[in-house]
Assembly symmetry: D3
Homo-oligomer: 323 residues x 6
């Protein structure tokens, strides 16, 4: 990743708080109507860029069409989001169909910023694009056949190949979903698909018993890849999305070293409990600065919020509370 000269958004843990991760007191940081056309802004990705941060935002417009927009911020909290969606140029292929774009992730590998998102191609699959400057964007071949969601690139090659997590799904409100890894020599052809993490038995950890999906780009630590992910339980009122974390082996990320049995963050605040889809905490990006980590998550499919933690504490918690 590019050398990071800016400070990430941060707020110390409140005195009366014993939780591993805690929310920003000024949440949500991005309102649903932050740009003129938007119905909601959520499930978005940010990354250090130049002397501040750039982001790729999911903004559903008032026709509830899903698209991704570039945005910029000095402090990671106050954002200027473009009023027009990202326009793609042809990357490693002819321009391909894209009925909609949502739930972006962004990372820097070697010489450019790679973006992955859920791309509408006869149903959801994983779109891939890149930019050097967040002004011009180039769209590559979709990684997989439909139906897939939550495509998350690792921030560097592993054993000489690009590596991507994803969650095979179906074409609707998928009631199942495990996390897989796939490899590519060239960001065009993908293979060596392996299952990384499955849902848990209801009795063991119910918040992640229906489906799970990768969240922010994995964070490289000495002990392994720190993966924040979302887990879903199907209540009698529909899905509830919470956030947990796993530690994957650096060399072979199919090896799950630890995985949180309790969640790290679950819907409890009013902006998480009410909105277009109540009871959703959906992490899509993380910024780190030393041991600090700030997670960006969509709340209630309506707004963007952030939460904080210390990487060392999170890993320690995982070790003590691993499933």
């Amino acid at each position: 990743m590019t050398a990071q000269s800016v400070m990430i958004p941060w707020q110390d843990r409140p005195e009366d708080c014993n939780d591993i991760m805690w929310r920003f007191s000024e949440n949500p940081i991005i309102n649903r109507y932050a740009i003129p056309t938007s119905n909601s802004i959520f499930n978005s990705a940010v990354i250090p860029f130049e002397d501040g941060f750039a982001g790729v935002f999911r903004c559903d417009n008032k026709a509830v069409q899903m698209n991704i927009f570039a945005g910029f911020s000095k402090d990671g909290i106050n954002w200027d989001i473009n009023h027009d969606p990202i326009e793609m140029q042809a990357g490693n292929t002819d321009m391909i169909e894209s009925d909609y774009k949502y739930d972006p992730r962004v990372t820097f590998i070697e010489d450019r910023y790679w973006i992955t998102w859920c791309n509408g191609y006869n149903g959801p699959t994983i779109g891939i694009g890149y930019t050097f400057d967040f002004k011009e964007f180039f769209q590559c071949e979709n990684a997989f056949l439909p139906f897939n969601r939550n495509g998350v690139l690792f921030p560097e090659k592993i054993n000489g190949k690009y590596a991507m997590l994803s969650r095979p799904s179906d074409n609707g409100h998928t009631p199942f979903g495990d996390i897989y890894i796939s490899y590519s020599p060239d960001m065009k052809y993908w293979g060596e698909h392996r299952c990384v993490m499955k849902v848990t038995p209801f009795e063991d950890s119910a918040w992640q018993c229906t489906k799970i999906g990768g969240g922010p780009v994995p964070i490289k630590t000495e002990e392994g890849w720190l993966l924040f992910y979302h887990g879903v339980i199907n209540t009698c009122r529909g899905f509830r999305y919470s956030m947990g974390a796993a530690l994957l082996d650096l060399e072979d990320p199919t090896k799950v070293l630890y995985r949180t049995k309790p969640y790290l963050l679950a819907p409890a605040e009013v902006y998480e409990l009410t909105g277009d889809v109540p009871n959703v905490v959906f992490p899509c990006a993380a910024l780190t600065e030393g041991d600090k980590v700030t997670v960006y998550y969509g709340a209630a499919d309506t707004v963007v919020a952030i939460a904080f933690g210390y990487i060392s504490e999170i890993i320690d918690f995982m070790k003590k509370n691993s499933i």
Copy 2:
């Protein structure tokens, strides 16, 4: 319509608001417990009457039985709703079964006030009744076979016949639904059924991709019939109801001249996001005064709220944002 000597409820657009339609700052105007027996009051119809307004209100009682009640108001905001439901007498037929009544609409044609509602006759269908004075009410033949909802009369005959919009459905939480028109020479026998508007593809306008249904009685304008309607998207937490508008040809209302691709109003306020059925905005009536229009809508299947707009702006918006 009878000459209208009273002023409709109105509040100017807030300064910082760029929306085509905006909410009343004192919403909701009718509380769920506004009459002693009520569990909720919503999806109701109002009309100018004498020196004020009359209304037909859906009040579900605390056994959650659905019925319609007459009510009166001087200003359209403060309402006296009768504590007993409307009792029907035989209209153009013998008294017919009515297991329940809900979601009324009301309009004035020629010499009387016509009421349509969802009538329980082995499932939902369209009930028709009339009154001259909102004291005595007469029930006619159901317009259609079950299963149907959202029967909305045009406020005058078209080509010499009564015309009604409706939405064929099934007997449950119908996951589909388009708007049809039917004609009648006599308010008893109906035919010439034509499809007027269908749901939109998910990619084009997702808020109205699952089902749509007519809202208030169409408003006659120089450019066409202005029809407010509701559209539904099926989220992983159930249905979400929003409001849009369409402009239908004056002579042949099966011709849709324009139709909003973005919604005009979608659930965002706390009284729309929480309640017996969260995330519902369901318009059932509109009052006009010159270019002003005040829309009455049920919020969260719990309370009644209103929103304002200018007809000319709405039509202009439709033209620029038509699907």
Copy 3:
């Protein structure tokens, strides 16, 4: 009905048979491939015509498109079915959409032969047409809004109005369905909808506990309208269709005088148990000659078969075995 100068197909009850109705020993009388394009021929209607019989046949072609075809026979058993489907001309309206046509019934009223069928208009509803000669056919307004199936006209006006049975449904493999009656002064506008017969409780008569639908045009007898109908039970392998009968009051057909608790005919022969939709007996027409009645039914959604009975015995059986 026109004076009937021809003998209906008939075969006496086999000696060892105690059933009220019995099958033709040469069933099926029409093979699935009886015309060059057909995948299956079933659920079809016949009527005395000139010196023999005419029929309107449901022939699904090998693209499995559903359409209706005219056919002719001297004896009611050997049929010449046209190789091209019926082409409709405008009847009492402009030509209306017809995505498909299936399950016809035919009857003679006053001066012409009326045909009803399941007409594809954004889903199934009841199409109406007429012919004077089975050469030229005229299509009228659909009787109802979608979704509906099994529209069956009475063979004469009742109290001065046309009367039609139908079964409101949904757009798929409807898992419910009761029989209603509607009236029309003019075959264009319909109203006065009333429920005639509902499905039975599983414990009382399971073969008709899921849905029921009118079969052949009701037969006028001194004691009432004799209505053969189909009943459906939902097994763990899908629907099973059987045949029963009811006797409706001559003056007010909403009054069900008797109704068979046991079925009269249920799938048991190989041509009923195997085919495109196994376990279907679906009656669509009946010919009478004195006390004799010959019922035409579709078997396994694949072929046409016939069964015989005596009207007096059937009514007697109904009286003794009424639900």
Copy 4:
């Protein structure tokens, strides 16, 4: 029940309130995070104990594992809940499997406190245990085969046998459910199962038309057993749980003397309308003092709240509003 020397929590009816039952102004009394590991605390049971109250609380931990915890209070409002779940010892059998425990009820019979709960044994069934001191707990045979929920003991033997209400269910978000009674000579073998109360027709009382289940241990009154119970309606956004009451014959509790057609309490406050499962009011315990009754109920599957009423008024209301 042991002589009760302490005062139950109480707050007089507000002046402007005409409801039969009213909420505590300081609701909820137990927060979702009241113990360090909890995600939510709700659907819990309390009983007079020593000079105050003891309780058995459903605390779902942050892995969303369901278990029951003992707790104590002087005033019934402020509670000390143990940080570790109840550990069971073998009661009238070898220790049996318990994948999870939830929705406890507690009562005193003869010489000990009996606890029933929903016990995970290859799906939910009714677990039974007892304690003398709320320190040591003993687990007995499950009362029934799976699948069952809402097992509620009567507070004394009836005709010499233990009696338990329960609601047979399936293994998921059961969409049906009636209340049955079963008897046992010894708390080990159960039989004489009878249906007590079924769901109501939608038209008659929709809030209890999908499923019902016993709530607090029945309260003995001169006129019969006063049973608070929950009723469920299935909306287009999922289940909504409300509370009603029934009066059962003292000698033969299968005889329902009265049953509320309107609900007594339905979700309307913010802590009932938002939370892990919005729109849930789920009573599990009641304390009485003379004519006063205080009902403990879970709100939104997240917190514990209380409501008040007078037994005589409730019975009077039942008589006037019985279904």
Copy 5:
């Protein structure tokens, strides 16, 4: 069991047959119309009685009402089945509701013949009755709360208590189901419920991966209780029922010593592949004579058939092919 002086039906294994169990060449032995009122006769139980055999037969009548009928045979192949269903008298309780009766099993314990069946009491549960002579029958308390099917008594007390296998279910075409055991001191109160056998993973033995249920009364052998059972797989055309066997520990029948991974008999003959419910082999009774065993099974929910085998070979096969 009473001393058995009669020879069981038998036919040696065909020369070219290598199967462990083989069918009777004259199958089916009982036709669907074997009594005047029957629509189908299947899933029935037989037992040695006097100088031949008695049986309890499931005969669905032509209203498709399910009931049980007594029958008698000298050779176990040719049966005289009563034309009227069994009439029950009160056994160990007042007469209880029975909406329907199906799938009987019969065994002799101590002094009488015990019959269990699926009894309609607000849904299916396990009915219990007894007879001394197959003329007078006495109905006892239902064993369990609904919903349950396939109640099968052991032919003697185990550890001093009656023992029954059953399969908890739901109220429809249950898509799950494992086999449990319950005990009773007195045939009235039941408890000590334990899971005996669950469905198998699809990959291991797909024919029994959806649900399983006990078949004939277990056969006592030196090595254990020989339990024939049915297993179900859910195909894209619905359920398919096959037959396997398990060996349960004599002292503790919750211990499954062996269980067939391959089926012993699966639908393959025309009378098993076509009928009211195609592809069903459903065993309900077994007769033994030395090492020989004759299994009675319902075929296609329409007729009764038999198959033969040697107990020693079956046990040997189980040992070599146990899951």
Copy 6:
């Protein structure tokens, strides 16, 4: 493909037959019990090999475990199928999980025989293997993430890359499915996924309106790739599988030149209408000799059958009956 020195199975069109394709009079050619362990043999692939034919057969054993077996034949009709399933060695990767294998296709490219099948890896996906001699088999990386079925290789590289058709699905009895193409430089990494053919509207060609999937390896003709495929309609008794054909552009197979609107073969014979899954015709292989083509298809998921045609006639029929 290797030079073919043997004659394919053939039988001239019967004199009275006007169909484009016709069945072998001795169908089925492989019985369900053709090897000792088999429950059924169907959906299998054959190819010219040495002086006759080799095949890869789907044999489900009597535990209904799905696996693939090698077989050999001199005439393509009489087959010797190995009694043990194919054992795979590591191909282009470490050995990967394979819970089950079914529905194989086989083709020869360059120097070896490639086999694709539905491979169980946490659900169905496309397995790839190769053999030089049908004795030793080597398993490669799965082509795709789950869930996928009907992977069909083209018999030669297209534009220098391997090309495979497949049908993304879900993990159950998938109720949707279109045909896609993917490319690979090395049989390990796959990309450039494009949709080739979608299901048809119900009104246009109902037999292929639910899902479609590639059948035999495409046949190279001068006019394009001849692809036999299966189409599925969802009846009220479950899925019905029929066979059609399409002609794909030689250079760019995403271009569909023609596609049969009518089916070429649909279930009509007793071995297609009854069996483990009735009403299934499922083609998996084709042999050609000049203009002749012999298609191997699974019938009723139970047996293997063949049908004949002339390529030129089939293409001609496609041109005249293209959708």
